[in-house]
């Protein structure tokens, strides 16, 4: 297929946390907010006058300092982010807004705070307690926490407009971005998709790591470009998979899978398009903050939502994606040492295989996995196993 016009530029942007668009927005006097988790609704971090940069540590090499501070038994992603902070990689941030969602990321942020690794004068860190259930009681708490620990500090420290109108404006922007992303992602349903999982991951990830308004034009042009893009006649993939699990902030991982023959047609992981690139529907009957929080609670697919209904919903959600995107299997992956996904992956692997009859590749992986030979071999073996199953099913069908 012909290269997408903006792909190289976006790939380059993703090589840095403090990328060109971030620098541009900061130079305009906007507030750069470090985000670490999807539990803080993005529109609250993308209010007029500020923008979210999801913390990543691209091109990570050694994480020795991060390991000293957090021990070798913690999630490598958290250690890599701390390492990057120790290297001075997040000096551009004006604040970090962190939910106490997973203990490990929380420790990472606390280390950044207590080691004073971001030196801007008015820099602050705020922690919000986010609910683990999707009930009405939880929503009330969620709204309060967002008010007290996100909106208030932003208003107090940087005089950010946190009014209902401002939230609605941020939602409108995000909806526009999400509509474009989902429009682009729809092509993955095609029998021979005109966009690869890797390309889509680059586009989608950019929307978490750059000021969203600055990406709009790129996304519009890409959506337009895709309308006439011709896929290769001979598909470059052997099987279609849904990729699910813990946070993936490096599209190279998806490239690796696709090189091994597994086309990623749907992405149900943190920083993917499902569910966080859905549209937030607002009405005038209720305040925007409550509606945004309700949407995020309903969307929430993180295993930390502990009520049984959510646990079951996570399984049916992935099953729906498998059907909708005609996937042949699921790759369930987790970052090593992630407690949430450690349990969820094990359990979901059993449920998906045994109750839903869907082939599953279940893997844990290091933070930097784009060049992992071991992982490549496992994906190849998974692809082959699905092909064998398909052949066997074909044989049975034909007699």
């Amino acid at each position: 297929m012909k290269d997408l016009k903006h792909l190289y530029y976006l790939e380059k942007l993703l090589q840095e946390a403090n990328n060109e668009l971030v620098r541009e927005a900061s130079a305009e006097g906007r507030i750069a907010i470090g985000g670490v988790c999807a539990q803080i609704p993005e529109p609250l971090l993308n209010l007029p006058g500020c923008f979210q940069v999801r913390l990543r540590a691209p091109r990570t090499g050694s994480v020795e300092m991060g390991t000293y501070y957090m021990s070798s038994l913690l999630c490598e992603c958290c250690r890599a982010i701390l390492e990057r902070a120790l290297e001075g990689g997040y000096q551009f941030l004006d604040c970090i807004v962190a939910p106490d969602a997973c203990a490990q990321m929380n420790r990472c942020v606390e280390n950044i705070e207590h080691l004073k690794l971001c030196e801007k004068d008015k820099f602050f860190v705020t922690y919000a307690d986010v609910p683990m259930k999707s009930t009405g009681t939880a929503l009330k708490h969620y709204v309060k926490q967002m008010q007290v620990h996100v909106l208030e500090p932003l208003r107090e420290h940087y005089d950010i407009d946190v009014s209902d109108a401002a939230i609605r404006k941020a939602v409108a922007l995000q909806n526009e971005v999400s509509r474009l992303i989902m429009e682009i992602g729809e092509y993955r349903k095609e029998a021979n998709p005109r966009i690869t999982g890797y390309e889509f991951a680059v586009l989608c990830l950019s929307t978490y790591c750059c000021p969203q308004d600055k990406l709009l034009e790129i996304l519009r042009e890409t959506a337009e470009e895709l309308k006439s893009r011709e896929p290769d006649r001979k598909p470059a993939f052997r099987v279609r998979v849904v990729l699910a699990g813990s946070e993936i902030d490096d599209p190279e991982l998806i490239r690796l899978m696709e090189e091994a023959g597994a086309l990623v047609v749907a992405d149900r992981y943190c920083l993917g398009s499902f569910p966080n690139r859905g549209e937030i529907l607002l009405t005038d009957e209720e305040d925007a903050l409550t509606q945004v929080c309700r949407t995020y609670i309903q969307w929430g697919q993180c295993p930390r939502f502990m009520n049984t209904e959510k646990l079951v919903e996570r399984q049916t959600y992935i099953e729906r994606l498998v059907k909708e995107y005609q996937a042949d299997g699921i790759i369930l992956q987790q970052l090593k040492f992630c407690d949430y996904w450690g349990y969820e992956r094990a359990h979901m692997t059993h449920v998906m295989r045994e109750d839903y009859g869907i082939p599953v590749l279940s893997v844990d992986r290091p933070y930097v996995a784009g060049n992992s030979g071991q992982l490549r071999t496992r994906v190849q073996a998974f692809v082959e196993s699905i092909e064998i199953k398909k052949l066997a099913a074909g044989d049975r069908k034909h007699g």
């Binding site: 501070y69 420790r107 705070e113 922690y127 009520n307 349990y343 094990a346």
Partner: protein, 512 residues
């Protein structure tokens, strides 16, 4: 060998096998006391075992085997003790044994596989292991039980290898080996179908850690009864979360009411909370004594007993308050007589982090071998706040505070202030010069502070000794490995000689 503390080398008792070479001689009076209490434990166990339901339970559930080690548990946890220390240990820990036996009796009676008492079963509300039972004070006609406590928690304390089989079950299921062994063992029990299927309904909590709550979700499927997930706030020090904590408890109460048809009894609740407050007052008395040069209620006697009082009894069982008072009386008398807990106290320490369930007697070793007096521990430093016993709304907020501050949870959650900063305050308060930092491999919440702990301890001039363990998996760091880390520090950094050299290096890998 004799009446005096430290009069015989305690390491010589270890034979390298399950049992020790012989029982300790503590002088006539203390040996007689210890022996009669030891017989009392046997009597309790035998009375328990002769009941048909309990005997059947013993043969049905693999984890019951661990309770054969109860008498040995007492020997381990009274090693080297004399006089008041010995009496305090027995006074507290014996009640825990009686309480667990009573819990098991009810479990087996209700268990459809054994006693199948349906009427009893319909009164049982099953609680999560690390969850306080305090809420049940409002339901005097219902029975609080935890299937996880006898199967996992106390099992691993009785026998160091007590739950490794279940942890392996969970690993076989596909859960990574790096998660905390406690929820892993609990899930393993569920996967092995070794949980008694009891209860009208269950309440689970987002207890100690991320792993713990994740294990719960899967376990809930095996209970096959309606289950409520109580999600109290994680950032529990913030004012803004308290109302939510109380709302969650109200939802939980409504759930229990709906499932059982019982109404929350405020009068009974307030009565129990008055008792609970008195228990807290007793504990504060002990802490006051511990601030002096003659601490009395310390180490294991404090930690294991308080776990039972604070978490499991929660003001509902009057016998705990009686024992508390008895312990206070013993401690006050010993303090006035200026009794020492060991012959030569050299260091005062706080044990921080989560203790190894397979080596709960470690603080006793610290005392006997190196003269390090374990003044208090992280798990015992829970709420010192009183629960309101008049105003329902305030009582609910106070109760939420208790649930947010459950043992382990109050430090592993809540952020830097609770996990790190509080330690230095306690160091000052209890005048300690040393911290024994349990580095529990599976506890990511505490491990995330590793570097900050080191730097802050260095700034404050506190001896900070890391002791690695893996809670319920002795294969990852044995008891001996734990001792070696202290030995190294004491020899190389402090250049000290042990009080009892026989305890510096001995083999107990095969012991209970």
């Amino acid at each position: 060998m004799g009446k005096q503390m430290g009069s015989e080398p305690l390491g010589w008792f270890y034979s390298g096998k399950k049992a020790k070479k012989r029982r300790e001689w503590r002088g006539f009076k203390d040996t007689w006391y210890d022996y009669t209490r030891w017989l009392y434990i046997w009597k309790t166990l035998i009375c328990f075992m002769i009941k048909p339901n309990n005997l059947r339970g013993f043969f049905r559930y693999r984890w019951m085997l661990n309770y054969l080690a109860v008498p040995d548990f007492f020997d381990r946890h009274t090693e080297g003790m004399r006089g008041t220390q010995l009496r305090i240990a027995h006074t507290g820990l014996e009640l825990i044994v009686v309480d667990v036996c009573e819990m098991l009796r009810k479990i087996f009676r209700a268990d459809p596989r054994i006693g199948n008492d349906r009427k009893l079963n319909s009164k049982i509300v099953l609680f999560d292991e690390n969850m306080m039972s305090t809420l049940m004070a409002g339901f005097p006609n219902l029975i609080w039980l935890s299937a996880e406590v006898p199967s996992v928690y106390s099992s691993s304390m009785m026998n160091q290898e007590g739950v490794t089989h279940y942890i392996e079950k969970t690993t076989e299921y596909g859960v990574p080996g790096d998660v905390c062994p406690m929820p892993a063992a609990e899930l393993g029990v569920a996967l092995a179908e070794d949980f008694p299927l009891i209860g009208k309904c269950a309440v689970q909590c987002n207890t100690t850690c991320d792993g713990s709550l994740m294990g719960n979700g899967i376990e809930a499927e095996s209970f096959k009864i309606p289950t409520f997930q109580l999600a109290v706030p994680i950032r529990h020090t913030q004012e803004s979360v308290q109302e939510y904590g109380a709302d969650e408890l109200r939802d939980c109460i409504a759930f229990i009411e709906e499932q059982t048809g019982e109404k929350f009894d405020w009068d009974n609740f307030f009565r129990c909370m008055e008792r609970f407050n008195q228990e807290t007052e007793q504990m504060l008395e002990w802490f006051e004594i511990s601030k002096t040069d003659y601490p009395q209620v310390i180490g294991v006697s404090l930690a294991l007993y308080r776990y039972g009082v604070y978490q499991a009894a929660g003001g509902r069982n009057p016998e705990f308050l009686n024992r508390d008072r008895k312990i206070t009386e013993l401690a006050m008398k010993a303090y006035q007589n200026k009794e020492l807990t060991i012959p030569q106290p050299r260091h005062r320490c706080i044990t921080w982090g989560v203790q190894a369930a397979y080596y709960t007697a470690f603080p006793i070793w610290l005392q006997n071998c190196w003269g390090i007096v374990p003044i208090t521990d992280m798990l015992s430093l829970v709420s010192t706040q009183m629960v309101n016993t008049e105003d329902q709304n305030q009582a609910m907020l106070d109760l939420a505070y208790l649930y947010e501050n459950m043992i382990m949870r109050n430090r592993s959650n809540g952020g830097y202030e609770m996990g790190v900063e509080a330690l230095w305050r306690y160091c000052e308060m209890f005048r300690v010069d040393m911290v024994i930092m349990y580095a529990h491999m599976g506890c990511k919440a505490m491990n995330g502070y590793h570097g900050l702990f080191e730097e802050e301890a260095r700034k404050r001039g506190i001896h900070f000794i890391w002791v690695n363990h893996n809670l319920m998996k002795p294969d990852d760091a044995s008891r001996k490995d734990m001792r070696t880390e202290v030995n190294r520090y004491m020899r190389t950094v402090l250049r000290e000689e042990p009080l009892d050299p026989s305890l510096e290096d001995f083999e107990d890998g095969k012991a209970f």
